[in-house]
Structures are given as structure tokens and as C-alpha cells.
Amino acid sequence: MAAPITVRVQLEDFDLAAEVSALRRGRTDIGAVVSFSGLCRNEAGALNALELEHYPGMAEAEIRRICHEAVTRFDLQGATAIHRFGRIAPGENIVLVIAASPHRQAAFDGANFIMDFLKTSAPFWKKEHHADGSAGEWVSARDVDDAARERWED
């Protein structure tokens, strides 16, 4: 049975439970499901919202490539990745990744791998909108994210 891969890039919120259920439905061979939810975080109350810009078409294609790589590498039974765009308020969802496997470490590694590559190679850019109404800055890429990605090279 081919491992189902679900990729969506969307304005609206997603439903963690529905996505996990869709991956599990009708199967009794899955032993572990790991989900990662990435949220808009408000450090010290200074943030009003994040604005997520993306490259339509390539965003979906790149995330799909990453999921395929993860499924192959960790022998996953399924992978889901949903990334939102547009204006996202603190406490709201930005991204969801789910990995299913017979074994727990592969599920953890699969979800972790997808997130590391998604952060550094999926074409999304975050701009901050401040609570005081001041013009927002584009979020800078962080070296720690590149380092996280590089640990998967062997």
C-alpha cells in the first residue's frame, strides 16, 4: 500500500484531529503517529500578527518533495503537511505536520525531518506586524534552522 501524502497550502485554519483521523482511518497497521503544530507566538506581547507570504505552486511542490523524501527515508506509512498563509494572530496555527509509522522513532524522525526542511526550503516568508501599529519587519532566517537541516545529512 502506497503511503498517502497530503499537502495543502491554505488561508484557513486546519483541524488537527480531522487530519490525524484521515491518516489513520481504516488501518490497523500503524503503531505511531507524531504530529507537530507550529503556532504564531507572541513574545512579550509585542506582536499583533504575522503575515505569511508564499510562492503559490512552488510552496505545495516543495513541501510535497520534502514529504516524499521523508516517507522514503523513514519508511513512513503516511505523511501530512499543511501550511497556512496570510495574516495569522498569536495563538493561531501556522503549520501542521503528521507522520505515521509502525515504530515510534521513525514517526518522530519523519515529522522532525519534514519540519526542518520545510523551514529552510519551502518558499514562505514571515513579516511581523507590531502591536503598537509600527511597520513590521521581515523575520530573518536563522542559522540554527540551517544547522537543524544539516544534521540529516549523512
Binding site: Y55, M58, H83, K119, W125, K126, S140, A141
Partner: protein, 86 residues
């Protein structure tokens, strides 16, 4: 001369002042690096956007490429800063 569709994102888009455009490229523009050098001759807004070439990322037909990549046959070339999604 060849015609190519260019798309820009994030602060590259903001500094250039547009999200997309179609350009005729001179015959001596073979690679992404050549394209960046050419664009910087088109005005101060391109110079400001592409000043630090080493941080500019490129994609040809929606796949990441290095600056040395030939652009022959490209339908769409995208230029953007390092990604910050997730």
C-alpha cells in the same frame, strides 16, 4: 534575446516594487548569477534588492537552483530571500 517571466517575494519584491514582470534578456545572460548582474543595471531599486547577492535565493520553474544554474529554457524565474516559514 530571450523572454523570461520573473517573480519576486518578500523584501526582494518590496524593494524592486513589483511582484512580477516579463523581461527581454540580453544574449550574454546565461546563468542566475548573470541575471542578477543584469538586473542590477536596471535601476537603484534592483540594486537595493539584490545588493547582497549571496543571500538571494533563486528558483527556476518552481525548483530551487544555485546561482551557477543555466537559465536557458526557463519559463519562470523566482528571486527571494532565505525562507522563514514553518
Amino acid at each position: 534575446m530571450s523572454t523570461v517571466n520573473l517573480v519576486y517575494f518578500s523584501w526582494v519584491r518590496e524593494r524592486i516594487g513589483k511582484g512580477e514582470e516579463t523581461l527581454e534578456l540580453p544574449a550574454d545572460v546565461f546563468t542566475i548569477a548573470d541575471l542578477l548582474a543584469h538586473l542590477k543595471t536596471l535601476g537603484a531599486e534592483y540594486e537595493a534588492a539584490l545588493e547582497h547577492e549571496n543571500v538571494i535565493r533563486a528558483a527556476i520553474d518552481q525548483e530551487h537552483v544555485a546561482h551557477g544554474e543555466p537559465i536557458a529554457g526557463a519559463r519562470e524565474i523566482a528571486l527571494f530571500p532565505p525562507m522563514t516559514g514553518g
